[in-house]
Symmetry: D3
Subunit: 307 residues, 6 copies
């Protein structure tokens, strides 16, 4: 089972302008082959299909708990997408009754993913940066632990490369923060799968990291996360379970060379997280509707009744 | 953010025999247009893209919290699939070194979804009952609250029809239990979206339920859930958040006609849940590997070290 | 614009038993690369996109009018599919309230396209014989008249081959009749595109027919259509338009060698057609619903009111 | 069976300039999830698969006759696409033998859907605004009348939202006219499905309209259609059949609030319609060919022979 | 550039009976995610896109030359598919004029991939064992050498697992021989990518082999290839180029533990190969046509003229 | 089996500037329906599946040998794509350690196929000009020789049209050269399939050429290939095999009207070909890596060891 907390894993700076093409680039990290929908669903289905769970507890727990973190990554990138596509919130847009007769959204014909406006009003969807759907071809769940872990290690390395390239296209703080955070956490996952593989096969595959061979110190947006030691920390993402990942991730191993040194550590539960951006609606885009005032009123009444 | 608990929403009876075609039928409820991957991702992306969250709190909270339950539905169906595909656990299969030279899996050429064995050793994947991938075409997230809620209501009604038909093909307890549980919970979701629509539009659309017009009382596997009142209960799936759904789902409304009567109620958190089946590996299928003994030993050591 | 007539192009014999795998084979002629959805949409979009219509009237009229016939082919194959999937009508099935608790549809797990039952209750959909969707990759509309006509000629030849092979798998009258009718009409279309190409290029490409090189006389189900001269007849499928196809298809040309001889002729309008099979519902499959009696009553009242 | 008439449902103003990105936006209304290919094929396949037709005549007739109108919608949007992509007709372009050696179409590398030029010379195809194919995932045909009608009602509401957003991006008359016409007719379809659902379920779901909650009076291009009462009129799209839709759509019901008032009425047959734009070819784009003069001559001769 | 030789890499024993479901299983090794179309196209596109070729010659040469071998693997599996689907050659089938009116191919409705008969007469196509297309999602070509090589290493390990599982379903010599040969050669490729990675990263990743951890000695069909040392041999697949792979694959390294020991060696050119099976046509399936006699005669004349 | 030679079929002029949208247009000729992946895989799978090979030798040899040429066409277009996407080589880019913190690749958000940078650093992949995957729907392999040859003839005519349109968008030498070369060679293939069809059917279908009806003399980039007689020449692409194509392509036939006259001739083996462009890496795009110096050093050492 899964629980939900109304927070983001990292707080995102508000966008300074609408930048739909930046949002489209970020979609590669959401619905692309090496995006978060892929990491999520690989680990999620592997955890469902895991054999000999009780005998392989630390390996099962690793895949199962990272699944929960990936859900939050999907959430983070999605928030980045919708924020970039919509730009700074303007409360006046939320007021109903706009004049729509003069092509107020003409610019949307020339953005790269016009459908993201036409169908989703800039909302995130499980597609890549070209608007092509995420799908099962991106999921490997063989039931063979070595093949699955090796796949996951390769997936995280490929994901790192994609995050780096998306980052290199981003001029906005919102998008850069998404990349910076994901680069640090993705590095942890690559590292953890490497250690798991090493335990089984004896191959010190973590020495292949970082791949691509650039240190996170080169990326300003990673620094605060490195400073707080995020790169040395695995969460259980559970109040009660998955603690045996400490068999794989513990003080016997240290941070990757090039990152701030220190011992690896497991933290029960989740990080503190940040606030979810409160996206205002845009009546002329029919979000939440063209004349939402009555809806707001109803909601207020219902909300009060619920307290 | 999302947390995980190492339990299933409902405990599934162990399969009595391997039944790959039953597993394949169940895949329709996992990766089909009206399957759980669709309900999950519709609500998940709608919750990410929700506009005017603070002004529409009860509506946002509804979509956001049901997302978490749908994750557990995906998990439940997936467990059903892998259990049915593999059949009863036989610890002797976990022993390495089987003779694979005499076509031990010849039968797998004739099952409907041969790929589910060849690629996944019977594991669940996000495909429908014909092996075709789940994809973004199944996701509607327009940012318009009425359109999205209406879509969701229609989706739950369609999902109910599919669950009923899959149920009618199932001779095994494992598969029937999955359907019975999902029928009850899906009914709650359809009901809750109807009530949300009614608040905004004034249309008593919940009177369209049940659709198809068969009462859950006709389905033996639903009874224990009805008896405990599951059909009148929404969970927040959170320790701290989403409580305002009580503005929409509360004692001012009652159970659907045909179901055991009573007031609607919100429960903070999640249900107790049941045990996840501990699927044993099958060495000749290379799960967790062909000669897993050393892997088991390593895992045991790591597990102990983690305590 | 298009008009509709509540008839089939050919009357289909009622099925003698449910034969879902025969229905699945027939789907190849509906949603496969060389199926009727392909012929329909190729000609339909070519007619929309046709350049210099007024200067190329007979060529435009040919593509535009055959489009209307292809709609009826899609309809014919679809009727064949749903009839074969459901088998002989049993009025008692239409009665509501069946017991669904004992896996009444267990057999549906083993049919080739289980989804056709689970999602469509045996209804036709735009997929091929393997359940994979028809899509735009099957549509060629270049705006170049020679390329488009050559494509169409090749398409009809390929379609003929597929119809022959599907025919060879059919043991039921319903399916064989669909194939027999389509073979005759497809032959007309191949012939007409060949004559159009010959007019423009001077190449007597109709001499390549029949391809594959088997005469229709070998197929019993084609005989009655040959006897009535269907193979020498193009319809305008319009009360008022498309008459200039007579510039391409007329008495200056005769039937293909191997077919009953005679001059080619254009007939204004459409053939007489046959009755659409009145498929009864099956309450246990929730068609039209689980307890449809009240629905029938309402419909009867509304029907009377409409007279 | 289907007949064809060589007219459009609404006459479109000639484009003033080529605007390929506007054409691409319009594609969302053709091949997108909520586009006309979807409405067409949902209703078409539902009508083929309809159970208990004779007992449910008014409901069957509704779905069957709207199918024919949707064919004309597909035609209308397609004409809009090809007109916008090609711009004003220039007879001089039809003259063969242009110099193609100096990259005359270099601009086509930068339009959003370059393939629409490369493969289709600006012609319409069944793809969405991002060039992704329409497919069977957009078709729901369950055989359950309530689920199918509810799906259709939701589909028309979603379609309305998409039409509104596409409209808001359109600066050209050609594109705006397409949207204006479709908004009025789509409103009729949503209304009619609502009334059908109300008859069966007793739920006054038409009170949810309009969704999104903007009146058509806000859209100048809708006015002439409202003035002539198009919003209160259903056509049978048949000379002989589907008349029983008058059981559902008749003087007992009136126009939607916000639209010009009046009683609902059924009109036998079809509207008068408008002229199809005669798109001139462009030799340098090889439409109808690079040196079409001889082809024109041949066609003229054949046309004369056909009179 | 590529040259072709009219031979197979390994000679396949003639099938003893038609076994379409075995052919379908083999398709997983052709068009599945971990099949030969994937290995081929990954290496082919990586070789086209390779950066700094001259500075990284041995790495480029490795990827480029293995591409050529993979072409032969695609050819080998395809031959296996078409042989298994068609069964033993019967020269009498090649004779034209068969009676097709009595459903001679009725059995084809019940094979798993009916389309493989209907569209391809049992021919191989780039689809997986479920009939779903191979596509670009299976191709990783990042331009980053470490990521690409790591991907390739994982791909070969995954491919080995799939070959093993397909092998375990095969009762026919033809299919087993395909698997046996590919297992040996795939092992060489995994080994060579591992050695390439080791050179760059210093990680002895070849120690992870074999994955899955079963020795080839367990598979009778591999023995003759092991005996002749195939597992220690890389070919350049070129008369003139790609020799620098000897920098990576040479006597400084030995066979994998568990395989017959010996030094690694590079062989210029290609192996001797075996005869391509001469598949006879089947007139009733329209291969090469329904009445092929005249075609044979023409071909014989043309053949003689060419000598 | 296939061999490889480290050369291109035609030498491409170095690009003068990066032109990602030109590269994207070229992708239509690589992964589009009428692109080189389609010609390659149609002929390749047809050659694998060919029936009665020994009796139909010249026809089999034709399809089999052209397959090898198409591999080189895929290679040529791919080289064109990656060269255009990357622009002129700048050795300084290959130096590691660039500053990536200031959005060095911001421009990549606005190119048409942003994914081609994000995932492939401008590398070619099997997708069309809109980024949609090549797939099996583009492959026709029926086993019927006339249908397959007719398909191939249509495919080459359609391919010619697409090459012409792509050419008309190209302002760069690199891209224009690719088109010029392919137009000449594609013309040979269309011609050869026409002659093969003529032999079997007696229809002089080659008289339909050129389609579209523009002579190659209109295209400057074709001239040098016409001058050297490339349009009259078929290669066997083999040292030893496929010689019987001379039964179909020989001095009894001449060049197409409009092309430089002369007899048709078969050349054993392959053309001389040209140099493959040595694409330098770009460290900031992580090709071959971010700090490739050590990798270069290792490769140099290995290369030397291999001599």
């Amino acid at each position: 089972m899964f629980m939900r907390v109304d927070k983001l894993q990292a707080e995102l700076p508000a966008p300074k302008k609408a930048d739909p093409n930046a949002a489209a680039a970020l979609q590669e990290l959401l619905g692309g082959k090496y995006g978060e929908m892929s990491t999520l669903n690989n680990y999620m289905f592997q955890s469902f299909n895991f054999r000999s769970k009780s005998k392989l507890r630390p390996f099962y727990d690793l895949v199962a708990s990272i699944t929960a973190e990936e859900l939050g990554h999907v959430e983070l990138v999605s928030n980045g997408v919708v924020m970039l596509a919509n730009g700074p919130d303007k409360p006046e847009n939320e007021k109903g009754g706009a004049d729509i007769s003069d092509a107020p959204w003409a610019d949307m014909q020339d953005i790269r993913l016009a459908q993201s406006f036409l169908a989703n009003a800039g909302g995130a969807t499980p597609v890549n940066s070209g608007g092509v759907s995420w799908n099962t071809d991106f999921v490997t769940t063989t039931g063979n632990v070595v093949v699955d872990l090796l796949h996951n290690f390769h997936l995280e390395c490929g994901a790192r490369l994609h995050k780096l390239r998306v980052y290199e296209t981003m001029k906005t703080d919102t998008g850069r923060e998404v990349c910076g955070y994901l680069l640090v956490r993705g590095s942890v996952h690559a590292h953890s799968y490497a250690l798991a593989l090493k335990q089984i096969t004896g191959v010190a595959i973590e020495k292949m990291l970082p791949t691509p061979n650039i240190n996170l110190s080169k990326i300003p947006e990673c620094q605060k996360y490195l400073d707080e030691g995020s790169h040395r920390r695995l969460y259980t993402w559970s109040e009660t379970d998955y603690k045996s990942i400490a068999g794989l991730w513990n003080s016997s191993e240290g941070a990757l060379p090039g990152d701030p040194p220190g011992e690896l550590e497991v933290v029960d539960g989740m990080p503190e997280g940040g606030k979810i951006h409160d996206l205002t609606g845009v009546a002329s885009a029919f979000t939440p509707d063209y004349a939402p005032e009555e809806m707001f009123e109803i909601a207020t009444k219902l909300y009060k009744a619920s307290r």
